[in-house]
Symmetry: C2
Subunit: 193 residues, 2 copies
């Protein structure tokens, strides 16, 4: 997606060989117009799958989830909550999400009432790297007998296994930009589809 | 605000004498259309103050901050990040936020680069209760020589001191709905302005 590529080129920063910093427009400061443009592209891509809810995980996924939901006709958004431990409650379903950065399992959870059985769920997140968050969100859908109709992300780190993992599972995936690699401190983007 | 009052009446739940649960539409599941309506009202109210940025705190403030920023002409949003401890970095400013629920001080922080000096900052949050988060966000603005032009919130708990505190400091405040009290397990709303 042209506008996102331009934002990454203008504001993105590489750190080491695998960190892509986009705090300036995607996950600390939000470039509002860009978030709406991104949401529109995801909505157009997944409209044919008739999602009834958008599911994301706090915090950085919320903005893109909301704009996507807006362009899908103002369908509701549910954001999974994170906690370091399992929450004891019959009202929630939970899934582990392994953090490669911090080398721990965190739990994500949603209240059962907010994803009714047979919901058609579009999963949205700002980043796709190892695929841990997406896999956890899909697990929440499965536990609630909802169908994950697809996964839409802002930036896929193509050199990490998440994208391949989801595609091999037959999950419909749209990444608005793919980072091919980081080379000499520069972010190298893959060509758009 | 009529639509918000209706949502609180339909979906809000009281717990004990001071917890207002609005997970169904404001801070776990998001009722997308309502979030846009709320953002529009806040934007219309603060437009004359010419905010250049919207500042909120993760996670539940992000959605309302984004829709408010959208109706203010797609100005940027910055969301402060939470951490249990002080982060060691010259790039950030920080402020303590006392949690009455958990009886601990948490820290919130923003990267200095995202609120340039002299920014006109509109603070937005989903809830106003003790005013701790708003006070912390105002402190971040002050430290960065930015002007907090106002505070806009979804729901003010009128029986807690946050609203009074801000008004007494002369801060322009707009609450889209005010909970007067919880009585016999019911949420009693104050009349709109």
């Amino acid at each position: 997606m042209k506008e996102l590529r331009e934002a990454i080129e203008k504001w993105g920063r590489a750190a080491g060989t695998n960190v892509v910093k986009v705090d300036m427009f995607l996950n600390h400061r939000l470039e509002t117009e860009l978030l709406f443009q991104m949401g529109k592209v995801l909505a157009d891509y997944f409209r044919e799958d008739h999602p009834t809810q958008v599911l994301t995980v706090e915090s950085s996924g919320i903005a893109l989830a909301l704009t996507t939901a807006h362009f899908l006709g103002d369908i509701p958004v549910v954001f999974a909550k994170k906690s370091p431990t399992i929450v004891q409650s019959e009202d929630v379903v939970q899934a582990p999400v392994y953090s490669f950065t911090h080398k721990v399992n965190n739990m994500i959870r949603v209240d059962k009432h907010y994803l009714p059985i047979h919901s058609r769920v579009l999963i949205v997140d700002d980043f796709l790297a190892d695929g841990q968050a997406a896999t956890g969100l899909i697990s929440l859908c499965t536990q609630l007998q909802c169908q994950a109709v697809g996964v839409g992300v802002g930036i896929e780190k193509g050199f990490q296994p998440g994208g391949k993992l989801l595609r091999e599972r037959g999950i419909k995936l749209k990444s608005l930009a793919i980072v091919e690699k980081i080379e000499d401190g520069k972010i190298i983007l893959a060509q758009d589809d």
